[in-house]
């Protein structure tokens, strides 16, 4: 019974997390500058990671499969996408907080980190985590 309820919970959980991520840009106070955009991207990233952790922390699937469980291959894909997003965030933060960088370089860094987050979220969506 508990397992059944947990499975239902995982399904229900997926709906609001997707909604949260979809609405993040609107809810983050309309960041204007490159620094604010990267700062906002960090919040979206942290939220997406916390959502992914719900899935990743499930016991790995074995045969015969006992639900709920996390597929090892899916976990690997999530971790790869996370590495890319984290690296992009770290690099973007370094750029936008560097006073020697021009505004156009800072804006490009902010745009690149948003692209990385889109990819990360797309991985989660692909595997129906947070969708």
């Amino acid at each position: 019974m508990k397992r059944f309820l947990t499975a239902i919970g995982a399904t229900l959980m997926a709906i609001p997390l997707a909604a949260l991520l979809l609405s993040a840009c609107n809810q983050l106070g309309s960041p204007q500058t490159a620094q604010q955009k990267v700062f906002a991207a960090g919040t979206v990233y942290e939220t997406a990671v916390k959502a992914a952790l719900v899935y990743v922390n499930l016991p790995r699937c074995i045969t015969p499969k006992v639900q709920p469980c996390s597929e090892p291959g899916v976990v690997d894909e999530i971790k790869k996408a996370d590495n890319v997003a984290f690296a992009a965030l770290t690099q973007a933060k370094a750029v936008v907080t560097d006073p020697t960088k021009t505004a156009s370089v800072a804006n490009a860094a902010a745009a690149s980190v948003e692209s990385a987050l889109i990819v990360f979220n797309a991985v989660l969506v692909q595997y129906r985590i947070g969708t």
């Binding site: 609001p16 609405s23 604010q36 939220t47 990671v49 719900v54």
Partner: protein, 71 residues
């Protein structure tokens, strides 16, 4: 539709009924609400994040990253 309100309604009214799932979801919601609150303040004050705020930001995303990679 206001997705955030819709989401928060689901989270606050439905998910607490289901033990075991709430903890993980709560982490995501906490991260979201904390980040949005701080950024609202920064934008409203028309300023850039302070070095201290950036340090905290770096700590949070690094912790999230490490947790996921080690899970």
């Amino acid at each position: 539709m206001n997705y955030a309100n819709f989401a928060m309604t689901l989270v606050t009214q439905i998910l607490p009924l289901i033990p075991g799932v709430v903890k993980g979801v709560g982490g995501a919601i906490d991260a979201f609400t904390h980040g949005t609150g701080l950024l609202h303040t920064i934008v409203a004050e028309n300023r850039e994040p302070t070095p201290e705020e950036w340090d905290a930001w770096s700590g949070r995303i690094a912790a999230a990253h490490d947790a996921l990679q080690k899970a």
